[in-house]
């Protein structure tokens, strides 16, 4: 492992179980026993398999692939939410998954309280959050709404707050899932600018998008996943060419 390598995946595999008992209930149990199905899981499939790639510090790694090809599974694995069922993944540094921060909001709490809740949840101290607080509020353009409960927010407002928190409370590795399409036109432009700033800093970014233009514009490296398997890896132009001609 090179000293600059920040993420390294070796034969990485993530397995999903398809079990009729995943959401078991008494009715299912009765049904299954009645139809003499075995009580064991009924199958499994690999969400990702035999993935080998490396990410260096400061890289912007684009992840290409159709819907359902395993992109989100990969992000969750890098974030440490899924553990490998096969092979290994080494991540040196802290990870922030910008994609899902707003799903952690508590609807009854105000924007202010949610900033602190998400901040503490993702491992920042109250002091660190306070230092970034005005920056977050200002960027989100929520103004007085920041004191209102999040349940009164529109989905655009929630996305703006989520983005502002994620972009201000930085980690070594940022996972970005289609984030460039957040909010209205004006905010999208603003967040795009902020993204470029982030990309130009020494932070490592994993960028997932099914829009190849976004990837081409920002990433210096790419991987292409198809049905959980690695189709191509390397610099953006090469991978993009293969992806677009497929």
């Amino acid at each position: 492992m090179e000293t600059n390598t920040i993420i390294q995946a070796k034969n990485l595999g993530i397995k999903y179980k398809i079990s009729r008992f995943k959401r078991s209930s008494i009715m299912n149990l009765v049904k299954n026993v009645a139809s003499r199905n075995s009580l064991k899981s009924n199958g499994e499939f690999w969400g990702l398999r035999d993935l080998n790639f490396e990410v260096q510090k400061g890289d912007i790694l684009g992840v290409l692939g159709k819907n359902g090809s395993g992109k989100s599974t990969l992000l969750k694995t890098i974030a440490g939410i899924y553990l490998p069922d096969e092979g290994e993944i080494n991540v040196k540094g802290t990870v922030s998954s910008m994609l899902t921060l707003s799903s952690g909001f508590k609807e009854d709490l105000s924007g202010v309280e949610n900033i602190f809740l998400i901040g503490v949840l993702t491992g920042f101290s109250e002091k660190q959050i306070k230092a970034k607080f005005s920056e977050i509020v200002e960027f989100s353009e929520l103004e007085d709404f920041i004191y209102q409960p999040v349940k009164s927010y529109s989905s655009g407002m929630k996305a703006r707050l989520g983005f502002s928190i994620a972009i201000s409370l930085k980690k070594d590795i940022m996972l970005v899932d289609e984030i460039l399409g957040v909010g209205d036109f004006k905010f999208r432009e603003k967040s795009r600018k902020k993204m470029i700033e982030l990309i130009k800093s020494d932070i490592t970014v994993i960028l997932v998008s099914h829009d190849s233009e976004t990837i081409r514009e920002y990433s210096n490296k790419c991987i292409w996943i198809h049905e959980g398997e690695l189709k191509a890896t390397g610099n953006t132009e090469n991978v993009m060419e293969k992806y677009l001609t497929s």
Binding site: Y82, S103, K106
Partner: protein
């Protein structure tokens, strides 16, 4: 043992999160209500009034101290029911969070027990004036209270860890537990005294029902001025077993939570 140490380490490393979760939960629970935190006291108070009316006026039963005997046991069971009822559903309820952020998930279980404890302590504010009013025996035995509370805290955490995992894989458990916990209340000496159990069954009864010794102990130290029940060691045993089994199971299944939800 390793599983337990692992879980404790996880929680200790994120104490600020445990604190913040509790603060925000309490805020959500009592904010936006005209009487705010007063509800935390009014709620057990009304519960008390209902039982007094039911027992003293409607049924005309029980001795003079009956309401306060009942309340000293019921208050602790209210804590257990609250925390366990929430913990059965805690992983499902927080499913979005589990799939978005990685943190020691046992903090969620701990949080439900902490809030239950907080409500219990506020309930004591109602209980203590009642002890005066019903002429309870104030004695040195009351110093046992923090000890019994601490053991119940461990019992509820251990059981909560167990139930949270079970509740994730078996969703019907939420409904089943609400029903079971009601039955257990009627099978335990809260609404009646332990004397009601025939003498020859008392030994086995207190050995298999952990709540028997718990309720007797609360009644003894708070109202009767007696030491805790000798069978309280049974409750301690249950607490230790639940803590070990619960943290073992939780530790083993925790890496799969996000995937299995």
């Amino acid at each position: 043992m390793n599983a337990l140490i692992n879980q404790i380490k996880g929680i200790l490393s994120r104490l600020d999160l445990a604190k913040y979760l509790m603060q925000t939960d309490l805020k959500v629970r009592y904010k936006n209500k005209a009487l705010g935190f007063l509800w935390a006291i009014l709620d057990p108070f009304f519960m008390m009034i209902i039982y007094i009316i039911l027992v003293s006026v409607v049924f005309k039963k029980g001795n003079a101290q009956y309401p306060v005997l009942l309340f000293s046991a019921l208050l602790s069971y209210r804590w257990f029911v609250f925390s366990t009822g929430n913990n059965v559903a805690v992983l499902v309820k927080n499913s979005k969070l589990l799939q978005a952020v990685k943190f020691p998930f046992s903090i969620l279980v701990l949080n439900e027990v902490n809030i239950g404890l907080f409500n219990y302590l506020l309930g004591l504010i109602v209980l203590f004036p009642m002890l005066f009013f019903f002429d309870a025996t104030f004695s040195i035995q009351m110093l046992w209270l923090p000890v019994i509370i601490a053991v119940q805290y461990i019992f509820t955490i251990g059981f909560g860890l167990l139930m949270s995992v079970a509740g994730l894989y078996f969703r019907d458990l939420q409904n089943i537990m609400l029903f079971l916990m009601r039955i257990v209340l009627y099978l335990s000496p809260a609404l009646y005294g332990i004397e009601l159990i025939p003498a020859k069954y008392q030994h086995i009864y207190q050995c298999i029902n952990p709540f028997a010794s718990l309720f007797v102990s609360y009644k003894n130290i708070l109202v009767k001025g007696l030491p805790p029940s000798g069978y309280f060691v049974v409750f301690v045993g249950f607490a230790v077993v639940f803590l070990f089994v619960g943290s073992y199971l939780f530790n083993k299944k925790e890496p799969n939570f996000a995937k299995d939800i």
